[in-house]
Symmetry: C2
Subunit: 340 residues, 2 copies
């Protein structure tokens, strides 16, 4: 490696000051156009690389935004990330991604790392059990936060997510209208706000229709395709076997459908299944999945926009912002068999 090239290398070669070089490279109108072009051309020629650490030490702006989610392998988050990415690209922010796998510990480490790197802000889907204090830690150190998909009690941080209880109600109502009376609820737990909201939406819809909500028709836990697949057996062994299942998300629904098909059942005919999120995959599953669109695109876009606004100290909304979900009816739901 040759000698390190820095601002002063250019300054000396061109017989100007580093201040001029610095301004020229950033297209400052304070520098004469000819000088500016000369500097930029020479910088390009010798392969100058801007040292952001040095600049950021000086300006205390890093151009880095952190994003923490449960698991980027989850297509639900992946779809949100994509829209965050395209929004942040626009404002030239680099983003650092991390999974917390629902470990508050791991999440705190990441926040600490972002603080050390001088990140300008953070978008997070908080881990189960995140204390308000952890969010405040970021904000207190001049790193504004925005929450997605889940909320945290005790903070007024802007927070974007779908209206889960309403959405699950939509799916449940749909099954009830088709004539189902015994409807199970599969996946999720009471440990997250989302889990509580979705189950509440299901309960309320059942109540409204005067149908019995049975605790033993709830199979808690599954949130992945594999877990949904494995839940098929438990579902088939449920007392007074239900004719339909409201699933926590599309992954669980697709896994469950695969498991039921393996056991020789036909979805739509023998059982009806609904998902949640409307992932790209829902439409091409076999059978095509009836599900609730959860506005991933919107959530990502609005979260990123809001964070950028907060970073630039523009006023923004605060607190919970609900996106209204929509039911997308496909082939995985139908009227129950008449003989039951």
């Amino acid at each position: 490696m040759a000698q390190k090239i820095k601002l002063s290398t250019i300054a000396e070669a061109l017989g100007v000051s580093t201040a001029t070089v610095s301004l020229a490279l950033r297209d400052s109108p304070l520098v004469a156009e000819t000088t500016r072009e000369r500097v930029k051309a020479y910088a390009r020629e010798i392969g100058y690389i801007y040292n952001r650490r040095a600049a950021s030490l000086r300006t205390s702006r890093s151009g880095i935004v952190g994003v923490v989610v449960h698991d980027i392998m989850n297509p639900f988050f992946a779809e949100i990330l994509k829209s965050i990415e395209s929004e942040l690209d626009r404002s030239k922010q680099t983003f650092i991604l991390s999974n917390h796998y629902d470990s508050v510990e791991k999440q705190r480490d990441f926040i600490e790392t972002l603080l050390q790197l001088g990140a300008d802000g953070v978008i997070m889907s908080p881990a189960i059990g995140t204390p308000a204090e952890d969010i405040k830690l970021a904000e207190r150190n001049a790193m504004p936060a925005v929450l997605i998909a889940r909320s945290v009690d005790g903070v007024s941080t802007p927070s974007f997510r779908g209206d889960d209880s309403f959405g699950t109600g939509l799916a449940t109502d749909h099954l009830i209208e088709l004539g189902h009376k015994r409807i199970a609820h599969i996946g999720g737990t009471d440990q997250t706000s989302t889990g509580r909201d979705r189950y509440a939406g299901y309960r309320q819809a059942m109540d409204r229709a005067g149908l019995k909500v049975r605790e033993d028709w709830r199979i808690s836990g599954p949130r992945t395709k594999l877990a949904g697949f494995e839940a098929a057996e438990a579902f088939l062994n449920l007392p007074d076997r239900p004719t339909a299942a409201v699933c926590w998300n599309d992954l669980v629904a697709i896994g469950l459908m695969n498991g039921l098909i393996r056991s020789g059942y036909s979805i739509g005919e023998d059982f009806s299944v609904t998902g949640y999120d409307d992932l790209q995959e829902a439409a091409i599953a076999t059978p095509a999945l009836t599900t609730v669109w959860n506005g991933q695109r919107e959530v990502g876009r609005m979260a990123a926009k809001t964070l950028v606004a907060r970073i630039n100290e523009h006023p923004t909304v605060t607190g919970l912002q609900l996106i209204s979900p929509e039911l997308h009816v496909r082939k995985s739901t139908a009227a129950p068999k008449p003989d039951r």
Copy 2:
């Protein structure tokens, strides 16, 4: 926000020098244990945050590693990333992720960003058409690189991937042994080394068995579930309709199976389908997918280990390192119908 807390804040409060504080915080044995403890306790108490930008400016080590892949939403990369993540965690490196979506331009921007941030190294699955020069740019600026999944001609950078032509041969041989004679090849292009290798493995296996390789039995392109789903129609319209399909990867295979099932066919019975990668999903697909294990875990682990070694200037392997794939037979393949 209160006054910014820095090393000197602690030094003044405790009546020691910043040098001592700096050493104490990093557990240097040069500092007396009592002093060390006193410093650390006080730093914790007042909520001191280590400024990595300042440290890194001084030491020219950032603790950042970049990872660029085509698309993290692709479960194949997601599985590799997971193993990179757990390996990097061990050496306390923060990693920054970026998708290049096969844009050489976007990839170059990211390398430039990493250079500006003073990243210690980069792991990349190079975009289609990546010139050797782009890899050299990183290395010339003291940022060692390691390649995964794809290679780039003209560089000796360590490069980890599965033996694609051998693996595709395995899948093709399996179909031939089952008695298939008309076998299509679906997905991928000649623009990547992987694409060329996989198609070559298929060709060679067909040749060895004395079977005809027909260009019109190759459906190029699809690499996603959706594309595989859409390719079902093209497959069904192939001249002298094949009885089996060797697919580019599991996503294409699963999509294709869904498409064929939608058209009323039964996989295993009417057509045999093989995948590639052995994603977690392959085992729970319906029917369970016969596929080729591609060692994602291994690739990620070895790539990360090698990069860390290079960063620490330890000697490492160079050039292409092939991981040997294995055939996993499941339910999506069977003997062709006797009447054909």
